[in-house]
Symmetry: C2
Subunit: 305 residues, 2 copies
């Protein structure tokens, strides 16, 4: 019932100093053990670990009420700024590397460590699951910006274990325009601009025309932006294209590929860059529809039994 047991000891008429606040883990244990028997075992495990880490964080740093309350205000602010267009709670996690970390952990769990599957990267907040189908070799540029460079992006999707091409893999591609805005953030862009929803053919091939990506800042008018500012960091992400690839019986891949010549490759504000995901946009000649080419082959893994 109590955080500390207290004995008002007096010696020669003088109160004996005693530790007034017992900040060891007895209190933390009491909080963890308050969970009832009907708690789901996984939630029990997660909450016990989370409570212990958060209490340790408070104790190790002598966290004050005032400092804690600033954190509470930041969390409340994140919720208040979140809506259909943005997820500020997610973005707060992104700028401390948490989404990238749990993405890695999840991939490891799903794929295991034996296959040479394409590395994953974070989903981010701009995916749409309602993009209409795109024919192979079509353009996903519905609103062409004046400074856009067109890329012929193509590749083969293979089984990571056997190397065999896979037919019928659904590939989602999405990217922002050269102003750094995704179509749902920008009324000047046509609906589904720069979004493709393709299917690999019998040789595992997919191909489309898109834009060379550009760096852009994550939204920095909320608590995540405020945190970046307080941490003396910029909000920029290196130029990237989002990819999702999936087929029944295969582990769905969510990733991003990064232009090797982009700024911010080594200081992505959301820590999503992996060496294996850095790609080279090459000059393309003889194709009137594009000036650049990006060959990007993908390897996905059958689900573990």
């Amino acid at each position: 019932m109590s955080i500390q047991t207290s004995v008002n000891a007096v010696e020669n008429g003088v109160p004996v100093p005693k530790p007034q606040y017992d900040l060891n883990s007895i209190f933390t244990d009491s909080v963890i053990n308050a969970s009832g028997p009907k708690t789901h075992p996984r939630l029990r495990q997660l909450m016990a670990s989370l409570i212990r880490h958060i209490h340790d964080f408070a104790r190790e740093n002598d966290l004050t009420v005032e400092e804690w309350m600033k954190g509470v205000e930041m969390i409340n602010w994140a919720g208040q700024m979140s809506n259909d267009q943005r997820n500020e709670g997610q973005l707060l996690c992104d700028v401390i590397g948490l989404e990238s970390l749990v993405d890695d952990i999840t991939s490891k769990l799903l794929i295991g460590s034996n296959y040479e599957a394409t590395k994953s990267a974070i989903l981010g907040p701009f995916f749409r699951n309602d993009t209409p189908p795109t024919e192979n070799d079509a353009s996903i540029i519905k609103t062409m910006p004046s400074d856009g460079e067109v890329v012929y992006m193509h590749g083969i999707v293979r089984d990571a274990a056997t190397g065999e091409p896979i037919e019928g893999v659904i590939i989602d591609i999405w990217q922002c325009s050269t102003n750094g805005l995704y179509e749902q953030q920008d009324p000047a862009q046509a609906a589904f601009n720069l979004r493709g929803h393709l299917t690999t053919d019998e040789s595992g091939y997919y191909g489309l025309y898109c834009l060379r990506p550009v760096p852009y800042p994550v939204p920095d008018d909320g608590p995540a932006g405020r945190l970046l500012q307080l941490l003396d960091r910029h909000p920029y992400r290196p130029a990237h294209i989002h990819i999702m690839a999936g087929k029944p019986r295969y582990t769905s891949l969510t990733t991003q590929i990064f232009d090797k010549n982009s700024k911010y490759l080594t200081d992505d504000s959301v820590f999503a860059v992996k060496e294996d995901l850095v790609v080279d946009f090459r000059n393309l000649e003889g194709n009137p529809k594009a000036t650049l080419e990006l060959e990007y082959n993908i390897k996905i893994s059958e689900m573990k039994p």
Copy 2:
């Protein structure tokens, strides 16, 4: 730049299995070290520790994207439910014992451990700093509930080090009515019902008439309530009265006192109960204004130099 370094080793034509995801703390270090030189030293310390604990939490539990996203949704929900009347981010912290812990830490920092000052307890979300002054020995009951029991509450405020009574200490008292609602939550209660704002006289005395407190649930229609439900816990708090006591040059005391006969003393949903704060409401005879008496003396500490 990368989470893992990768060597595509091949031995006798077979790819050599290698750890695909390097989940050690190199990644965590890179996130922590992203903070720039202009970061405030205290924020740098706090964020480094917080990032390390959160990453360790994710790694130790193989936290998945799906589980993390449930946490993000809970945080966003907390912000969306917060307003002038309630602070759901605070309440989420309360039900995992965090406010009680940082309250303890802060008191220790302010008071040190040498004085026998009255123990602190959490402020909670219902304090108002605009309560009008109350005369000593007046009643703070402006809306009398039919099932209310009136208490004559009084005591002497003393210096924790010298034992001398202190004149001119401002005492705020607040409590909910017998329906479990504070006046700002309940249109049926008069403004400032059950709130007192007193000043000790030259003998350190304060006195007022209030209600015997009752247990009540914390608001359980938001994420904190959902978390309590998932953890198979009830939302109730034991019967208590809030007290704040302050005077220039003294460390302000924020505490709660708990009825020793109340339910939930050992399983307060926000973990605020301390042994020293449990009090005894005694039968009172010969006073037409009250049937119960609570003598509660307070010791506050001069600020450390």
